[in-house]
Symmetry: C2
Amino acid sequence: MKIYLDCYPCFLRQALQAARLAKGTASQQHQVMLQTLQLLQNMPSEATPPQIAQDVHRLVRRVITAHDPYEIAKARDTAAALSLYPRLKELVALSADPFDTALRLAIAGNIIDLGVKDDYGPLWDTVERVLAASFAMDARDALREQLATVPWVLYLADNAGETVFDRVFIESLELPVIYAVKGGPALNDATRRDALAAGITCEIIDNGSDAPGTILGDCSAAFRRRFEQAPLIIAKGQGNYESLSGKDAPIFFLLQAKCPVIATDLGVDVGSIICTKRG
Amino acid sequence: MKIYLDCYPCFLRQALQAARLAKGTASQQHQVMLQTLQLLQNMPSEATPPQIAQDVHRLVRRVITAHDPYEIAKARDTAAALSLYPRLKELVALSADPFDTALRLAIAGNIIDLGVKDDYGPLWDTVERVLAASFAMDARDALREQLATVPWVLYLADNAGETVFDRVFIESLELPVIYAVKGGPALNDATRRDALAAGITCEIIDNGSDAPGTILGDCSAAFRRRFEQAPLIIAKGQGNYESLSGKDAPIFFLLQAKCPVIATDLGVDVGSIICTKRG
């Protein structure tokens, strides 16, 4: 998905958020904003949002600290989600359709996205909303059928904390899952450490990239091989949709359309829940 | 009030909003965004938000159309407010404290601000909220006392549509009011035409400036004379606060703190209603 003009203000907001989380001085924060303005001016017309976000977050780390600015926020969000884990498991256990409930929970967890807003609101409210919502794009039956036929699934993670909701979904599936996380700090996206903190016990691989999405050209050869071999791919969240929506691969996208740009691209209302197949 | 880093994304959002309202082509909209990025990079450190907004909206008119991009939006908002006028008058007429009710309505009308968001929500909800809200900064008694002693008031208007709420307040006052509007298109701020469309019948002057605030150095000499002579000034909205909060003059600011930057500067929560005296 290409960048829309509405993304410009959002990148600046993200840059400032990251600069503050990195505890930059006023002068460093100002420097980050000026360099982000420069970066947006020189942006290639074919860039996707995760490519520019990758550059923005790299420049924050270059100007302020090589340390991951989102480390504390990610640990906080993972802990918050873990505190809900028993209730999430109970919802699935008591459900008349455990697959559907677990799938909805995986989508509910996608609210934990610091790329869209600085604050994602009360988590349990989102759980209740998504459990009751209608799907704006609904490929659940196709996903359920394909999961019954493939030997394994490649699962592309999105945010830390959302990982706990992914865990609940993965635990409800009856086949091997390879859980792919980012290779380095990328907004509040999950890395291996975040996946482990969430209690993910299936095989975890990293994609070798620090982009908040899956830019195949930026990923490791090892990851790309897995991607090409995968009989079925579940891709979580907006960043994976933005970077993979044009790809010819057996991908199901699970997400909440949280920003107006994605919602317009998908042809749905902001806040919609989505299960859609491309490729 | 100086510019905060949080203002950068907001200026880009405003630029895009104005470019779209001006019905710019995709290429013109892109040009507006690129020029706004350049403008923000070269921004003087002592600039106030209305100064930069003035430059942003001038560049939209330069790139796309000399016509006022907000003309249709302003006419729409004035018509919406006028449709409430009889109910607003009735609220004041039935009030145990007509001054307080009319003052609150003037502040309620300040929600009609396209500088903060693209959509300000249902107008009557805001009326009810502001009628019931506690003031986060409360100089109402001082304002009431001073209005009883001065021979006339200079009233600095803010947005079109809000003008109708100002009219209700002005009609409740028992002294001459000079209503000052902008001298040219400035976001959705009221010009003479918008004030007349709202049914303002007191003396109307314009300040000679197209900034969405009151930048005295940019105003006409005639306006500055009135400003200096005024025994009491009522300044509506964020733009007037941003441009006049440091001035030594007998000003009462009436506004809703709609953006986090203003709220922080004032030391109040977002959404607070304010009646405060400076100078």
